[in-house]
Amino acid sequence: MKNVTLEIDGRTVEAGEGTTLLKAAQSVGIRIPTLCNDDRLEPYGGCRMCMVEIETSWGRKRLVASCVYPVEEGLRVQTNTERVRRIRRMIIELLWPSSQVYAEEYGVTGSRFEPGLTDCSLCGLCLRYCTEIKKENRIYFEGRGIERRPALVEGSELTCRACGECFTLCGSGWIASRC
């Protein structure tokens, strides 16, 4: 595979073509916060915690989700600017009280908003794991928009192999409390 060279937080990084920015950053020890990412699963791009600022070699600046954006030759990436920190703080506030893992790091101690519909952050880790790794398809999202919530496929209580592997993936405890 061809390698491309880019710059992350001022450091020169080499990564194989098709690698995501998140993985390229991790490869040199730069940590980017994530809520819906799991290396065993397909990138999802739902939580938006991993947003970073990029500038292309032709000078275009934008915000992208590093878990899905592929590396590019000459790209300049900044993973911890005030702008992305502001986005991350807002995400933590909006998901409050679930998903508090990064609260301390980002100085969030509470939220201006009332909680959403469920205590689940809808990161999709459990259902993606059940679908992609276990090939069981026992969990799905019901409804859309602000009505979206996790649900067990009818009869799953009986057919779920109860491997419990999704319990440990869940940051909010939703799945363990239902199974």
Binding site: G45, G46, M51, V68, G145, E147
Partner: protein, 639 residues
């Protein structure tokens, strides 16, 4: 009927189709678009057919059910050809008189003619009526001339000539070049140059390639694409085949939303007929080019109009956007290069190939060429579909074509671009309408919805309506869109209920910026626009709701109360009879009052009060001794 093997076959078939049309001297085109159907157009057409038959005129006069003519406010619409005399609001009872007139007899039909608002004179011909006169109907123009379920009608008016021209005399590169030179931009919202999109798909590695029609039109109040697909499905199909030829695609899809049954029916019929005549399938017109199309029925989600979500849906998955830093034009359906354009974009293509890029770029502005169809709705006299050259001003559309605001009310704003667009205030009415200008002022072209609002429209309530729509139509996958719309909606709900807080506006703006920056797809990125644009141009209204607990438009029910003006009250008792909860009290000397503690603010009394009295009025809730907690209102303010 036989398969058309060559362009010469097509020309012969066209001659036959024209001869068939010309065998009758007069045609009566009855609009059978969705709006006119609701007005009873089908019964009208049937009644016309029977009357013509009864009088033995079947060989002279033909009746044709066509697609939408556009002037929906005044349906059912009837246009007599070739004279182009236009009857508005025609009913089956008018049929004998209409047929009398067609026979050359005297008939009193003035009531069905358009009356000039300025001098009261009737205007008979389509091209005299201001609503049509100021339009430039390139894409919609054929609607009035063809029966959508008959391919020969389309062929008679020149249909598939562009395809024959391209397949017999142009290389795919030349077709692509023509579209690029025409500077056609996508009509679905973003305004991305169609030629460049086609080229990306053409050059992208991977086979097969797909071309797709996006007919998932979902903006509230918008029905342009619906009317094109219902009224002229072959026009869209011809554009799609031309695109497939230019791009090198062998298969196409028409993604039609579930809620458009007639569009789906007509599109399916068009595909069947085109296949029968050999205009779809193997070796089209003997050119060696093969292409076929399937219809995919949407399952009723607004977000499925987003390209990656639409393609997920075609694959059989839930219609949810995917993170796409690689465009769907390179990796779309099943990871193959897929070129998606909306209905109106495809429908423009045959015209460009027929008349050339130079003709097309002769219309419009520097950055936006050609025409654009808008659905002009809301508080405007002439509701309907209008097609205008790019660059026309909003004022011309709303006042010259739309006939202004009804009931002598004052114009307040126009909302363009659907839920992702924004509102434009009166001070910007002279804005030339094109992709870049609308974006510059904080709205967007979108697919072409244009909702006119008058002084009785509350801008906070309008923003709340759009936010509610988006919060429920978001797919819910990413946090900024799902949680952002949720919290914005909660704040707006509070403000319209009179419970807004001073800091709410700053929080709305902060959430808006965040959603624009961080959302996964364009739906979430643009979801805050209705709120941000009303905040920008009508901030005062928000502040009145929050600080004074006052809704100047009298829309937000928690902030208003109904009262009876004793000076103008005619003592007719209409309000008392209309009230469903017995909240109107009548004293012995016939003084009517509203019992506020019983009133549910349904507005029935307000509607029932005769206009000559207009005694039932809306007043601020606080004005009748019900000030909202914690914020005593300033005295003497009127709604």
């Amino acid at each position: 009927m036989s398969r058309i093997e060559t362009p010469a076959d097509l020309a012969r078939l066209r001659d036959q189709a024209v001869a068939r049309r010309n065998s009758r001297g007069t045609w009566v085109a009855v609009c059978a678009g969705t709006g006119c159907r609701a007005y009873g157009a089908e019964a009208l057409a049937e009644s016309l057919e029977k009357e013509v038959e009864k009088r033995g005129l079947g060989k002279k006069i033909g009746v044709r059910k066509t697609g939408c003519h556009g002037f929906c406010e005044r349906g059912p619409l009837v246009v007599v050809q070739p004279s182009d005399v236009c009857y508005l609001g025609a009913q089956p009872k008018n049929v004998p008189a209409i047929v009398d007139k067609l026979e050359g007899k005297d008939a009193a039909l003035d009531k069905l003619l358009y009356v000039d608002a300025e001098n009261g004179k009737p205007l008979a011909r389509l091209d005299e009526i201001p609503f049509y006169k100021h339009q430039q109907r390139v894409v919609l123009g054929d609607n009035v001339h063809i029966d959508a379920s008959d391919i020969l009608d389309y062929i008679a008016v020149g249909g598939y000539a562009a395809l024959a021209k391209a397949l017999s005399g142009m290389t795919p590169e030349e077709v692509l070049q023509e579209v690029k030179e025409a500077k056609l931009r996508g009509r679905g919202g973003g305004g991305f140059p169609a030629g460049r999109k086609w080229e990306t798909t053409r050059k992208a590695p991977g086979e097969p390639k797909y071309v797709i029609v996006n007919a998932d039109e979902g903006d509230p109040g918008a029905y342009m694409d619906r009317s094109i697909l219902e009224g002229n499905p072959h026009g869209v199909l011809e554009g799609l085949i031309l695109g497939a030829y230019a791009i090198g695609a062998g298969e196409g899809f028409i993604y039609v939303r579930q809620e458009y049954p007639l569009a789906r029916e007509h599109a399916q019929k068009a595909l069947d007929q085109a296949r029968e005549y050999g205009l779809l399938g193997e070796n089209i017109l003997g050119s060696g080019f093969s292409f076929d199309v399937k219809i995919h029925r949407g399952a009723g989600a607004f977000v499925s109009g987003e390209s990656s979500a639409l393609m997920s849906a075609i694959e059989g998955h839930v219609g949810e956007p995917r993170p796409k830093y690689i465009h769907t034009s390179e990796k779309g359906v099943w990871g193959k290069p897929s070129c998606l354009n909306n209905v109106e974009t495809w429908a423009n293509v045959p015209h460009i190939i027929n008349r050339g890029a130079e003709w097309f770029t002769g219309m419009g502005t520097e950055g936006s060429k050609g025409t654009k169809i808008f659905s002009l709705v809301g508080k405007v006299n002439n509701t309907g579909l209008v097609e205008v050259p790019m660059g026309i001003t909003l004022r011309d559309i709303i006042f010259k074509i739309g006939g202004g605001v009804p009931g002598g009310k004052k114009f307040k704003a126009v909302q363009t671009g659907g839920p992702s667009g924004g509102v434009i205030p009166e001070s910007m009415l002279d804005l030339p309408v094109d992709f870049d200008e609308l974006t510059r002022v904080g709205s967007m072209m979108g697919s072409g919805g244009m909702i006119v609002m008058d002084e009785n429209t509350c801008m906070v309530d309008t923003a709340r309506y759009y936010m509610s729509f988006l919060a429920h139509e978001s797919c819910g996958k990413c946090v900024p869109c799902r949680e952002g719309t949720r919290q914005m909606l909660r704040i707006l709900d509070r403000i319209v209920a009179g419970e807004g807080k001073e800091e709410d506006l700053a929080v709305l703006e902060e959430l808006g910026d965040f959603m624009e920056d961080a959302s996964l797809c364009a739906l979430g990125q643009s979801a805050p626009f209705p709120v941000l644009s009303t905040l920008k141009y009508f901030r005062g209204e928000y502040e009145e709701h929050i600080r004074e607990k006052r809704c100047r438009a009298g829309v937000c029910t928690p902030l208003i109360a109904y009262d009876i003006d004793q000076e103008t009250c005619g003592k007719c008792g209409a309000c008392l009879r209309a009230c469903p909860v017995a909240a109107v009290d009548q004293s012995a000397d016939k003084v009517f009052t509203i019992l506020q503690e019983k009133c549910i603010k349904c507005g029935a009394c307000f509607t029932a009060c005769p206009e000559k009295f207009s005694a039932v009025i809306k007043v601020p809730a606080y004005a009748i001794g019900k000030p909202s907690a914690g914020n005593p209102p300033p005295a003497g303010k009127q709604v």
